[in-house]
Every structure is written in structure tokens, then in C-alpha cells.
């Protein structure tokens, strides 16, 4: 580490043009990543605000804070905002956009204009959905189940459906851009098995985005058409089938869970390697586990419908396949753990998030086994057990990885370091707030408290109060990084190209990188995470 003061490079992507136009018309993947960062942060806090109101209402058994219709809109909009506008785009569109070209030694994504277009599509879709929120709201649940959404709901289903339909195209285009870029634009010498695992997991997630998203787009058009033109596709009185919707919806929306978690797993692989200064144990197994998850993920949608009148044998097949998809996830967890053995482990903030992720994802994944076991799923599905389970995966998994990744690459993005103490405190608060919020919900679920309940029997109150208390801690936890990251943009210590001493092409260029990413086109002669040959130091 140099002892003389480090200066920002004279020329980098942040000072390459100023003013609104230089941002809104940019084709630089790094600036587009920051545009996404701004957009998803807004949606994250809107979705989070709905959660605050939900937990406040549930602090007492009676439905006394808001009306039942308002409550139904709150949990619907909480889900819609955070699933479609934060969790699905979050890691790929922000970190993926910023890092895919940097990690493979490319100047930009394959289609920079399409990349910018996908951001505009995303914002237009989000605006449409927000329009639905303010003009009557949406009360169908984020799952839009028919025939409630087509025949019964009086809320703004069509505008929200259009918003989600539009947003889907942003996801398809991003996925397409990543696939082409990863195939065609790798630096000389960067073979498939030298790629960082972040790239492998983004590749797998991109496949799902491209293949799955059109299905949900079609499904949501059918819902809108059924409402506007009364086709009766999902209306049993006219020969339609309401359960058909669930098949179509989950055919995308289950793989969508893997769009949320695969990039998160990619981030964790990077964090574990960097903060153990060590190769990922079983690199090829971890890489192929991503593809295995992407493929198997398309075959398990029926496990959302074990109690929805599907045949006993269909349920068994979906149960079997759901157990299979658990295996590649378990393989990843074991490999991350094994990577730590004889590592050189630092306790920097990103590593705290990575350790938090591994723990919470393990609990989230194992509780998934309860739901795959069909005879047990009957009791716990549609209760708070499932709410707790998927929050362990999506909040404990995806959001922890997102924050860990944001901290790890923050010096690359901004050229500056945040306050380490504030960051550590924030990470610990988030971890405890998270567990206090969602662990009691497992118990509530097995007791039988159904999800989406505005009012509940009084014997469930203590556990609900604990959960609400946890949520307020978690809410504070999420505000802390906002403060110190914003602060660091101006006052943070300037760091050099590679403040963590990490291996990876993104760390070979300046922080922040120049618009064209690399002064000279890199040539790769080493494997991913090859610490002994790529950084100076002594092996422990």
C-alpha cells in the first residue's frame, strides 16, 4: 500500500461530461448503472415505507390503523414495488451493469444504446405502476390471482399490469445484452473457466430473464384483456379456468426467484474470494450449480399450487423436482464455507454481509425443504411460514448480497471509501433487525396465522409485536448506509485502483475507471482469484 496521499485519476467516467444531458443520454454502462442505482433506491424506499405501515397495523390484533381495503393495497404494493422494481433488477441492473464489462475486460456492453433504452423502459414501467398506486391503488396481491384480479377487484389492475408488462422488457433487454456481451466481448485469454463466478451467475440469470419474462408478459396481458374485454379466459362460468393463471404466473415467477438470488450468489462468491484472498473452493462446481439452478428452476413452478386442486401425481413430480433444485444451492453454501478454510480472512464490511448472507440463506434454503415436502406444505403454505421463508431468501439473501456488493465495489464506483465503523454498525443492526423481524414469523406460520390478514386472533399478538419491533430496527439499519455512502461521495478517503488487494480485472483499472474502462486492452493469463500469482504478499 502506498504511503503518499492517493489522488483521483485526472480523467474518469464521472468527470467525463457534466450536466443532466451527459447523464440522461449517456451510453456508458457505468453511468447507466448509477441511473439504475438511483431508480431502484427510490423504489426500495417506497416499497419499504409500505412495509413499515404493514408492520404498524399488525402490532395490534384488531384492524385499527388503516381500513381493510387500504391494508390490502399496502401489502400488494409492497410486493409489487420490491419484487418487480427492486429485487429483480437490483443486482443485475446496478452491479451487473457496472461490472460485467469491467470484469471481462470490455469497453462497454455489446449494445450500449439498448442498455440506455432498458433504463428508460424501466422508469416508464415504474412510473405507470406508481400511477396505479396514486389513482386507486392495487389490491390483488403481487400475484394477481384470478378470478379475483379479473372479476372482483375494483382497484387499478390494468395500469399496474401495463406498468409491469413494460418493465419486463427492460429485464429482457438487460439479459440479452449480458448474454451477448459475455459470449462475444471477453478479453483475450479470458476463457469461460477463467471468468469470475459473478459472470457465471449473471449469465445464468440472464437466460431466465430472456426465456421467462415473455411468459409473465403474456400472462399479464391476458389478465388485462380479461378485465377490459371480458374474454372469460379465467372465468369458470364461461368455460375458463382460474387455476390456469397460476400455472402461467408461476412458470415465470418461480424462476424469477432465481433471477433475484443467482446474481446475489455471484456477489457472494466474489466477496468470499476477495476477503479470504483465496480461490473459490470447487470453482467449476459453483459455476455449474448456477446453470443447474437456472434449468431446474423452470421445472418446479407447481410447488406453489400443492393445495390449488392439482392432481396428486403432479404434486409429487413438482415436489421431487423442488428437492432436486435444493442441491446446487447447498453445493454453493458448502463451497463458500470450504473457501474460508485456511483463508486470509479480513472482517471488512463486505465480508460481514457475506457471512450474514451465508447464514441467512442457509436458514432460508433449509426452510424451503419444509415447503417442498408436499404433506407438510399443506399446513404451512399461505401462512406466515412462507412469508418468513421467502424473506430469508430475498431480504436475508438478495438484499444482504446487494449491500455487500455495493460496499465492496463502492471504492471502484466512487473512487472513495465510506466510514468503516459506521458501515460495520449498520451491517450488524441490519442483521439483528432482520432476524427479529422474520424469525417469529416462522413460529406464527406453523401456529396457523394466514398471510395477508389485516386482523388476527389475539393469541398471535406477542409474536407480531416482536416482528414489528424488528422491522423498525431493520428500517433504521437500511437508512444508515444511505447516510454514510452519500457522505463518502464528497468526504470519503480517496483510494487507489485496488484498495482491497483483490484479484479481478475491475481492480486493475483506476478508481473510478475511465469511460473506456481500461487504458490498454487487458490480456488475461491467469485463472479467476489467482491470488498467489496476481498480488504481492505471502501465502499463509
Amino acid at each position: 500500500m502506498p504511503s503518499h496521499p492517493v489522488l483521483l485519476p485526472p480523467r474518469h467516467y464521472l468527470n467525463d461530461g457534466f450536466g443532466v444531458k451527459s447523464w440522461l443520454l449517456t451510453r456508458d454502462h457505468k453511468r447507466i448503472a448509477l441511473l439504475y442505482l438511483a431508480a431502484v433506491t427510490v423504489f426500495f424506499f417506497i416499497g419499504g415505507a409500505f412495509a413499515v405501515l404493514i408492520r404498524l397495523e399488525l402490532a395490534t390484533p384488531a384492524g385499527d390503523l388503516v381500513t381493510d381495503d387500504t391494508y390490502n393495497k399496502l401489502f400488494t404494493m409492497h410486493g409489487v414495488m420490491l419484487v418487480f422494481f427492486f429485487l429483480i433488477p437490483g443486482i443485475p441492473a446496478v452491479l451487473g451493469n457496472f461490472l460485467v464489462p469491467l470484469m471481462i475486460g470490455a469497453k462497454d456492453l455489446a449494445f450500449p444504446k439498448i442498455n440506455l433504452a432498458s433504463w428508460y423502459i424501466f422508469v416508464i414501467g415504474g412510473t405507470f405502476t406508481m400511477y396505479a398506486v396514486v389513482t386507486g391503488g392495487l389490491d390483488t396481491g403481487w400475484t394477481f390471482y384470478t378470478p379475483f384480479s379479473t372479476m372482483s377487484s375494483t382497484s387499478a389492475v390494468v395500469p399496474a399490469a401495463i406498468g409491469i408488462f413494460i418493465t419486463g422488457f427492460s429485464s429482457i433487454l438487460t439479459g440479452l445484452n449480458f448474454i451477448v456481451t459475455i459470449h462475444r466481448m471477453r478479453a483475450p485469454g479470458l476463457t469461460w473457466f477463467r471468468l469470475p463466478l459473478f459472470i457465471w451467475s449473471h449469465y445464468a440469470a440472464s437466460l431466465i430473464m430472456v426465456l421467462g419474462t415473455p411468459v409473465v408478459a403474456v400472462t399479464i396481458v391476458l389478465v388485462a384483456a380479461d378485465r377490459i374485454f371480458s374474454f372469460g379466459i379465467f372465468d369458470p362460468n364461461r368455460g375458463g379456468d382460474p387455476v390456469l393463471f397460476q400455472h402461467l404466473f408461476w412458470f415465470y415467477s418461480h424462476p424469477a426467484v432465481y433471477i433475484m438470488i443467482l446474481p446475489a450468489m455471484g456477489v457472494i462468491s466474489e466477496l468470499v474470494a476477495a476477503f479470504c484472498r483465496k480461490q473459490i473452493f470447487g470453482y467449476t462446481f459453483v459455476a455449474f450449480a448456477s446453470l443447474g439452478i437456472a434449468v431446474l428452476g423452470f421445472l418446479v413452478w407447481g410447488h406453489h399450487m400443492f393445495v390449488a386442486g392439482q392432481s396428486v401425481y403432479a404434486a409429487l413430480i413438482f415436489s421431487f423436482l423442488s428437492f432436486l433444485v435444493a442441491i446446487p444451492s447447498a453445493v454453493k453454501v458448502f463451497n463458500w464455507t470450504a473457501t474460508m478454510y485456511k483463508g486470509s480472512i479480513s472482517w471488512d464490511t463486505p465480508m460481514l454481509y457475506a457471512i450474514g448472507f451465508i447464514g441467512l440463506f442457509t436458514v432460508g434454503g433449509l426452510t424451503g425443504l419444509f415447503l417442498a415436502a408436499v404433506g407438510l406444505d399443506v399446513h404451512v403454505t399461505d401462512t406466515y411460514f412462507i412469508v418468513a421463508h421467502f424473506h430469508y431468501i430475498m431480504v436475508g439473501g438478495t438484499i444482504m448480497a446487494y449491500l455487500g456488493g455495493l460496499h465492496y465495489w463502492w471504492p471502484k464506483i466512487s473512487g472513495r471509501m465510506y466510514n468503516e465503523l459506521a458501515a460495520k454498525v449498520g451491517a450488524v443492526i441490519i442483521f439483528f433487525g432482520f432476524n427479529l423481524t422474520f424469525f417469529p414469523q416462522f413460529i406464527l406460520g406453523y401456529l396457523g396465522m394466514p398471510r395477508r390478514y389485516h386482523a388476527y386472533p389475539p393469541e398471535f399478538q406477542v409474536l407480531n409485536v416482536l416482528s414489528s419491533a424488528g422491522a423498525s430496527i431493520l428500517g433504521v439499519g437500511y437508512l444508515i448506509p444511505m447516510v454514510y455512502l452519500a457522505w463518502s461521495l464528497r468526504y470519503g478517503k480517496i483510494v487507489g485502483a485496488n484498495p482491497w488487494g483483490a484479484v479481478g480485472l475491475e481492480w486493475t483499472t483506476t478508481s473510478p475507471p475511465p469511460t473506456e474502462n481500461f487504458a490498454e486492452a487487458p490480456v488475461v493469463t491467469w485463472d479467476a482469484y489467482d491470488y498467489p500469482t496476481q498480488v504481492e504478499g505471502h501465502v499463509v
Binding site: 483463508g343 417442498a372 498467489p532
Partner: protein, 313 residues
């Protein structure tokens, strides 16, 4: 504060202990692996913490034996859980033949129960202890879901078709009945109670119920009022099939194929008669969609079930 706070649900049906056993096994498994992974990562993070700023981790690329072990061992474990979960589900899916039938109609936002004796209830279901009960369920509007946590049973209640669950209560008492599929404004108000009684108390309760007539006799009345008997006559020359003794048989269909005459088939034959016409008949029956209520359909089905071969003339 904790005195009124249960941490585990009451176990009140023959199915509950079977579900709970699987649950406890999985809780144990989750605890074991979470603690294993959790303590390993914490131990490694401390034991192998970075001691010098330029220290690099040991060069370990992986090992095929370990990879195969931690692929195969979890695979074997989850296949065991799969079989266990499937066997519990099979038991849940097969109601005993001697089960007491109760019909359930869900609508926004109430539950209607009809006993075969003709007794009707709203948001309350009385059943005897120690006797299997089968619920045959449908909805008048959107999808609902009958969920009785104390019995560990749940199934969606879907418009346009019949679904069923069964349970055998093992102890008397009052148990929560929840709607577990989101159904609109008063979803969380679509709740009720299952009241499990001693058999003799249950008999007294049934006798005290103000039934207008059994479900089948109500169905017979409806059958006459709708003039179904002009075509469905107990002699073979009618325009429609003879219904006496029909329930439970397998019929050959016009255009090939067969159908088992069960509740769902009879329902379909009334609301969508052209869908599966019995061989030898023409599709002349008009639809009764919207003319007969879901309650009425259940009465008609029960009437058809009550018609025996020996009633033929």
C-alpha cells in the same frame, strides 16, 4: 405476557401428529445444518483472520471427494424427506369411505356448510369427534381456501369445480377456521370455527337443528321445480340418461372416452351439459349455469346420489 401466547398449535386430528413428526424432523435438520455452517464460518473467520496486511490465503483449489460427498449426502437426505412428505400427502388425499360428508360453499366473505341431514350453518361447522369428515367444497365467486390449523389440513376452494379435504378430529373443542387464499376486502374476516363434539352431543345438535329436510329431499324438490324429471325419468325411454343407480358408475361418452360419475361430473353435466355427453344421447340439454345456485347444485347432486337401482321402473 407470554401466558396466552402459544408457540405450537394444538394437535386435534389424526393427521396432525404425522405432519408434526415431519416438521420436527425438518426443524432438527435445519438446526443441525444451520449451526454446522454458522459455527464453521464463524470459527474460520476467527481462526483464519488476516494477521498481516499482505497475507494471502492458502492455495486450495478443491477436491472431488468433498464435492461428491456434499452433493450425494444432501441428495439422499432430501429424497428421504420427499418420500416421507409424499406418504403424508397420500394419506391426506384419500378420504376413508365411511367419512361423514359435509358440503362447503365459500363466498366473499363467509363460509356456508350444509350437512346431509339438511342442517345448514354459516361460519361454524359442528362435527363429531373420532369420525372422519370429508368436506366437498366450491366457491361462488373467487378462490378461497379452507384452513384448519389444529387439523393440519388446507385446500383451495375454487369456483367451477369441487375440491375436497378430510380430517378425523381426535379431541373436542373449538378450532380456528381461516380463509387462507386472499379473496379481497374482508379476507381476514372470512374466519370461523370448527366445533368438535362428543358423538351423542353431536346427534342432539343435529336433531335440534331446524332442518327443512335432508339435502337429498331438498334436491328432489328442486329436481321437480326445474322439471328435470321430464327428460330424466326412471324408465329407459327418456331423452336424458336414467339417473337411478348412476352415481359411481363409469359411463361411455359420445365420441369416445369414459367418465366416472362423481360429484364433479354431475355438476358439469348441469352447468355445462354439452361438455361430456353420455353415449346414446343427443346434446339437447340446456345449461343451468346461473339458474341453479351452488347450494342448489349440491342438493341436486345429493339427490342423484340417493337414487338407487331399485328405484328404476
Amino acid at each position: 405476557m407470554w401466558s396466552g401466547t402459544p408457540l405450537f398449535p394444538v394437535s386435534a386430528s389424526t393427521m396432525a401428529p404425522r405432519v408434526d413428526a415431519l416438521y420436527f424432523f425438518l426443524v432438527g435438520l435445519t438446526a443441525f445444518f444451520s449451526l454446522l455452517i454458522g459455527s464453521l464460518i464463524v470459527y474460520y473467520a476467527v481462526r483464519f483472520r488476516r494477521r498481516a496486511p499482505d497475507a494471502i490465503g492458502a492455495r486450495i483449489e478443491g477436491g472431488a471427494v468433498l464435492e461428491i460427498t456434499w452433493t450425494v449426502v444432501p441428495l439422499v437426505i432430501v429424497m428421504g424427506i420427499f418420500v416421507w412428505g409424499a406418504s403424508v400427502f397420500f394419506a391426506m388425499s384419500r378420504p376413508p369411505d365411511d367419512a361423514l360428508n359435509v358440503y362447503v360453499v365459500g363466498k366473499q366473505w363467509m363460509w356456508k356448510f350444509q350437512h346431509l341431514s339438511g342442517v345448514r350453518e354459516i361460519n361454524e361447522l359442528h362435527v363429531p369427534v373420532g369420525r372422519p369428515v370429508k368436506l366437498v367444497m366450491t366457491s361462488e365467486d373467487v378462490i378461497h381456501d379452507v384452513f384448519v390449523p389444529g387439523f393440519r389440513v388446507k385446500a383451495d376452494v375454487i369456483p367451477g369445480r369441487y375440491t375436497q379435504i378430510w380430517f378425523e378430529p381426535t379431541r373436542t373443542g373449538r378450532y380456528h377456521l381461516f380463509c387462507a387464499e386472499y379473496c379481497g376486502t374482508r379476507h381476514s374476516g372470512m374466519v370461523g370455527e370448527v366445533i368438535v363434539m362428543e358423538p351423542d352431543e353431536f346427534q342432539a345438535w343435529v336433531a335440534g337443528g331446524r332442518a327443512e329436510g335432508s339435502l337429498a329431499s331438498e334436491g328432489a324438490k328442486l329436481f321437480r321445480d326445474l322439471a328435470c324429471n321430464t327428460c330424466h325419468r326412471p324408465v329407459a325411454q327418456g331423452r336424458g340418461p336414467v339417473l337411478e343407480g348412476l352415481f359411481g358408475r363409469t359411463v361411455t361418452l359420445e365420441g369416445g372416452g369414459t367418465a366416472v360419475v362423481d360429484e364433479a361430473y354431475i355438476r358439469e353435466a348441469i352447468v355445462d351439459p354439452g361438455a361430456r355427453v353420455a353415449q346414446g344421447f343427443r346434446p339437447v340439454m340446456p345449461t343451468y349455469q346461473g339458474i341453479v345456485t351452488e347450494d342448489g347444485l349440491l342438493q341436486l347432486i345429493e339427490y342423484v346420489k340417493s337414487l338407487r337401482d331399485e328405484d328404476r321402473r
